[in-house]
Point group: C2
Chain length 231, copies 2
């Protein structure tokens, strides 16, 4: 029998980036424990995509945790603010977008850390990206490093056993086109994933929100066709 | 009209420590936004205590967020492990207790940080204590400092406006007796609070779990009588 693979937790939204991140964790030899969140996001279609991806890629386990962020407010993804459409990349790059969810990656990494302690594993993957378009403060390398430091101090594993948690960010320096090329190379079917902030009519991506526009641009630059249906 | 008080978020479990912490935040001149969590803890009586305390002390708002930690497992407070009874203080002080919830304070502070961004406030109070008995890695001053550093990097307020979040820990160096004396001085009715890990029969504190024993010892040392009914 071959030795058991080391475990890693992968934060999985069901989007293009996190799904590619999961495939890359597997490529690195990890048994993947996928973690998704039901945080009152407007489109439950995201969670369905995460389930498709976790199943298709053979995750060892897939946990969906309920964390209701709606009472906190402050984001177009959980509240009733309008999602911007048809923006140029330059406009997207100005400041923090209204789709920013306050402290989201801090919260999601905290929950991944709690599960990591229970599983006795010290590797966590998150598909953050600081290149193509960000504006999200909690996607920067300095944030990730600060979280690694916190994780060692915050846990029994870190405090008693000196475990150093590693937050893997394999996408952080890749362009969207490079991410897509990498996933395609690993055989990921992007038809399983979901990116649109505003899928209307249901089942179709709008093709106009920031997320759709960046996705389509990425496929074009990678010389590949997006298998998703668009409105 | 007097100027509006600055806002502060106070993590409130409804226990003796966090309730005293809330009273101390008010003493420092803050308008208090109390934050509690329904995380699948075995005793919903904790949440009822938090509601009594928030109301009695006049919190500006009290939010109870649902975060289901049960699927993660790993703690006697959320899973079906036995709560130790009748332990000596020396035994309690050995290592991390089984009532430790993995990464709990990291998670709770993350949610407080999310709400702080929405409220545009930069002060958060948490009633951690590192003296009488701890064993919890996420109650240490170095953990709190690491979280403050993370908060500045993790948020729009920190990244764009240079906001320095302050995590206040007014109880961190106080003994249980000193905490109780302080709360009594501020007029806090400890009959509203709840400490027992295993309240059986319902409505009565067991008097035997670590939490009850420390509480009773604290009242005795403060020369005060605990108004709670015990089994």
């Amino acid at each position: 029998m071959p030795p058991a693979k080391p475990k890693a937790i992968v934060l999985l939204s069901g989007g293009l980036d996190s799904s590619t991140c999961l495939a890359m964790a597997q490529e690195q030899g990890f048994a993947v424990y996928a973690l998704s969140f039901d945080y009152g996001q407007r489109h439950q279609v995201e969670l369905a995509a995460s389930q498709r991806v976790a199943r298709a890629l053979g995750a060892a386990q897939h946990l969906i945790l309920r964390v209701d962020l709606r009472p906190i407010g402050g984001s177009a993804l959980t509240a009733d603010l309008e999602v911007p459409k048809g923006r140029e990349p330059q406009a997207m790059a100005q400041g923090v977008p209204i789709t920013y969810v306050p402290a989201r990656n801090t919260l999601f990494l905290s929950l991944a850390l709690a599960w990591a302690e229970t599983l006795q594993c010290s590797d966590i993957f998150i598909g953050v990206n600081a290149v193509d378009y960000s504006g999200y403060p909690d996607c920067r390398p300095e944030f990730i490093q600060a979280f690694e430091r916190l994780a060692r101090l915050a846990t029994r594993l870190g405090a008693e056993e000196g475990t150093d948690f590693k937050i893997h960010t394999p996408l952080i320096k890749l362009s969207k086109a490079q991410i897509i090329a990498k996933g395609a190379e690993l055989g990921l079917d992007y038809g399983l994933t979901h990116s649109c902030y505003d899928p209307t009519p249901p089942g179709l991506a709008c093709g106009q929100c920031d997320s759709c526009l960046l996705r389509l641009k990425g496929f074009a630059e990678a010389g590949l066709k997006d298998p998703l249906p668009y409105a």
